[in-house]
């Protein structure tokens, strides 16, 4: 199943099951979605429920909040995470806070989907990862779908939740063919142990999952160890229990993220680990993240700005050797 098909199926099924589910955003309707995620939905559910909006992100999210107040379950699509900055006021000042500042009277069942990350030479204004912003906001739930299974079940769960959810996708994943594993008792807030190992825990999410998996054979063979890979799935809340179990076993942790290192999401994860698991650690935690520069256009520079399988392997091997592995 293609990643984008998994998303499409999730939306389609939720729209079929519940008339109050609507989708809105730029080009989501007649055009079929700029990444074809909403393909076919306009024909099936009509203009009332598949809403083409103007290029006005503030209004896309603001309108969606109003719809949610009126009893609908809107799914707002923002074409890229980068454009969501135009809607930050609506997301943070309104969606995230209404329940709290109304003393629990307001409910905003809203899902905001947005793809991010470095795709291919889209340059600085179309390549960022801003999970660090959204995960810092109380009142928001932040999910990150790295695979078709989570895309499908996670998005369905997000739509069903009675709180605003930032649903992060990655542009490079849309056309990828992926294995779909049917789930029972799916928990959207649970991290996935992608691969078991006993000497090192690598925490990752979104597209970096695949870069990490590519780096693993080199790391394992060179250091003669086995590596455990944890895909977070849910960034807020963070599944500390899975992380804790893994680190109690491996005693070492690295996080691989595509966003910038300074103030990046990995900083939060490592901070939590340092606070809660300090005496479990047999080595200082390692962060592998993007460079602290805007994403450049040139392909060589672009690849130099983010982690790649080769760089991941190199850094972990070097770090492992310096830290008793």
């Amino acid at each position: 199943m293609l990643y984008r098909e998994a998303l499409n199926n999730a939306i389609d099924e939720m729209m079929a099951a519940d008339e109050s589910v609507v989708i809105l955003g730029e080009d989501v309707g007649r055009y079929g979605g700029s990444y074809r995620v909403s393909e076919g939905l306009f024909a099936k559910y009509g203009a009332k429920r598949v809403i083409d909006t103007p290029i006005a992100e503030l209004s896309i999210v603001g309108n969606a909040i109003g719809m949610a107040i009126a009893g609908l379950r809107p799914i707002a699509e923002i074409m890229t995470v980068n454009f969501s900055l135009l809607a930050l006021d609506q997301i943070i000042n309104h969606a995230a806070k209404f329940r709290y500042m109304s003393g629990g009277k307001m409910t905003i069942p809203l899902t905001i989907r947005m793809p991010g990350g470095v795709s291919k030479q889209l340059a600085a204004q179309h390549s960022e990862s801003y999970e660090t912003i959204y995960t810092a906001i109380p009142g928001l739930i932040v999910l990150a779908a790295s695979n078709a299974t989570y895309a499908y079940y996670g998005l369905k769960a997000a739509i069903a939740l009675n709180d605003p959810v930032i649903f992060l996708e990655h542009e490079l994943l849309y056309p990828m063919k992926m294995e779909f594993k049917p789930q029972e008792n799916f928990d959207p807030f649970k991290a996935e142990i992608v691969k078991e190992g006993k000497d090192l825990t690598i925490i990752t999410y979104l597209k970096m999952r695949y870069d990490v998996l590519q780096a693993i054979p080199t790391i394992e063979q060179t250091l003669n160890i086995t590596v455990e890979v944890v895909d977070l799935n849910s960034l807020r809340p963070l599944d500390m229990s899975t992380i804790t179990q893994s680190i109690q076993k491996t005693k070492r942790v690295a996080i691989v993220e595509e966003d910038h290192k300074t103030g990046g999401y990995g900083a939060e994860v490592i901070a939590r680990i340092s606070e809660e698991l300090f005496y479990e650690l047999d080595a200082p935690p390692l962060r592998i993240a993007g460079q602290d520069v805007p994403i450049p256009y040139n392909r060589t520079l672009e690849l130099a700005s983010i982690p790649t399988p080769k760089k991941i392997a190199q850094k972990i091997i070097q770090w492992g050797r310096e830290n008793g592995l």
Partner: protein, 397 residues
């Protein structure tokens, strides 16, 4: 001049494109900007234009076909007069887009070279310190005695702890029997006797890892056990020949008889019985703990002398795969252990095997195991009859 139109890259994520519809036919005249085809990217259906005037010479891709990006999909023959005019201004057109990447600018090399990590500060990791405290190990003292590396990690502490509480022999036992050191209360020095009595008390097995050869033997015998086999029991006359091994005599006699019975030189392969010209017999050879089925080849061409020497040599040889392949029959001899009679498992896809017992009063008990798919009872009887004759007729040797 040919102008190639390629499957365009229409999105940052596009890898392949599907040709939905041709808007032109071969032979059509096209002008710069004309739409020539519709292709489907991962995002949408898009139009493909020509950026040169000319005549459609060839359409290279069928409608509905999917091709990787940058694959030529059509060739336009451009007008000659225009080509001349354009040529000097477009020297790049002859250079393929997949040129060598330009050298990385110095600023990036700076980014790429990971500055060497400074070694972590501190005497031990957090986990190592916690464990040391639990075990009452003084890290600073051990550092001053140079018994611990800096920084110390968890496994360094565990090692110190083990040395502190277990004698070296006791540690070896823990390793050999795969026992968790936590099993023992660490309030005194633990000796190998204490560990051994623990092992006996709990009947803990000593684990021997399977060798590659043993794994192969297991596979072979499991395979053999599934074959439709039957046994024939016989007693042959055999006189010992001085200076020759009994196995050498057995090999020579059987090998010669096999030449008269093609099915004993056969292998079953799918729809065919493949009959080989040579008498190749696998012989069970014990080497240390391991058992090998080494193949004695071309026996009918070898003298008893040569076979005797071969048997000597293989004892000390390190086998290569060829030494263990190519047999159609097998021999196992347990006579030297005084075993009177036994039966053997057929080796790999051999036709059968002859198991020889001990030589007693110039007779030797033999049990044949045959694969009925290749050799039936009648064939076997004839083969054994000839064997019997050969064993009686001493003059051959």
């Amino acid at each position: 001049m040919d102008y190639k139109i390629v499957m365009p890259v229409l999105s940052d994520t596009m890898q392949k494109g599907k040709l939905i519809r041709w808007r032109v036919h071969e032979g059509d005249r096209v002008h710069k900007g004309d739409v020539i085809a519709e292709v489907e990217s991962d995002k949408a259906i898009m139009e493909v234009q020509t950026f040169q005037d000319g005549i459609v010479k060839k359409l290279l891709v069928k409608e509905g076909e999917e091709v990787p990006i940058q694959t030529p999909i059509a060739i336009i023959e451009t007008d000659t007069n225009k080509k001349e005019a354009l040529k000097p201004q477009q020297p790049q057109t002859s250079i393929s887009p997949k040129e060598e990447p330009s050298t990385v600018p110095p600023v990036i090399q700076e980014l790429l070279t990971t500055s060497p990590h400074p070694l972590p500060q501190g005497e031990a990791s957090a986990a190592a310190k916690k464990r040391a405290a639990e075990l009452g190990i003084d890290i600073q003292k051990l550092h001053s005695q140079k018994q611990l590396p800096t920084p110390a990690h968890l496994h360094d502490i565990e090692e110190i702890a083990l040395k502190r509480y277990f004698t070296p022999k006791a540690l070896k036992l823990l390793q050999d029997y795969n026992i968790d050191p936590k099993t023992f209360r660490k309030n005194h020095k633990i000796t190998d006797q204490e560990v051994m009595s623990y092992i006996k008390e709990h009947n803990i097995p000593y684990s021997v890892p399977l060798s590659a050869n043993r794994k192969a033997v297991i596979q072979t015998v499991e395979y053999a056990a599934k074959k439709p086999i039957y046994f024939v029991f016989e007693t042959f006359v055999l006189k010992k020949v001085p200076n020759y091994k009994i196995t050498a005599i057995l090999l020579k006699k059987l090998g010669d008889v096999m030449q008269k019975h093609p099915l004993t030189r056969a292998k079953l392969e799918q729809e065919y019985l493949k009959i080989y010209p040579h008498s190749n017999i696998s012989v069970a050879v014990a080497k240390g703990e391991e058992l090998y089925m080494v193949v004695c080849k071309n026996i009918e061409e070898k003298s008893l002398e040569e076979i005797n020497i071969w048997l000597q040599e293989i004892k000390d040889k390190t086998y290569i795969p060829q030494d263990l392949l190519g047999s159609t029959f097998g021999i196992s001899n347990l006579g030297m252990f005084g075993i009177e009679r036994f039966s053997a498992m057929i080796n790999k896809d051999d036709v059968g095997i002859a198991a020889f017992g001990a030589l007693q009063d110039n007779t030797i008990a033999v049990t044949f195991t045959f694969d009925h798919r290749i050799l039936n009872g009648l064939d076997a009887a004839k083969f054994i009859q000839d064997c019997k004759k050969a064993f009686q007729g001493e003059e051959n040797v």
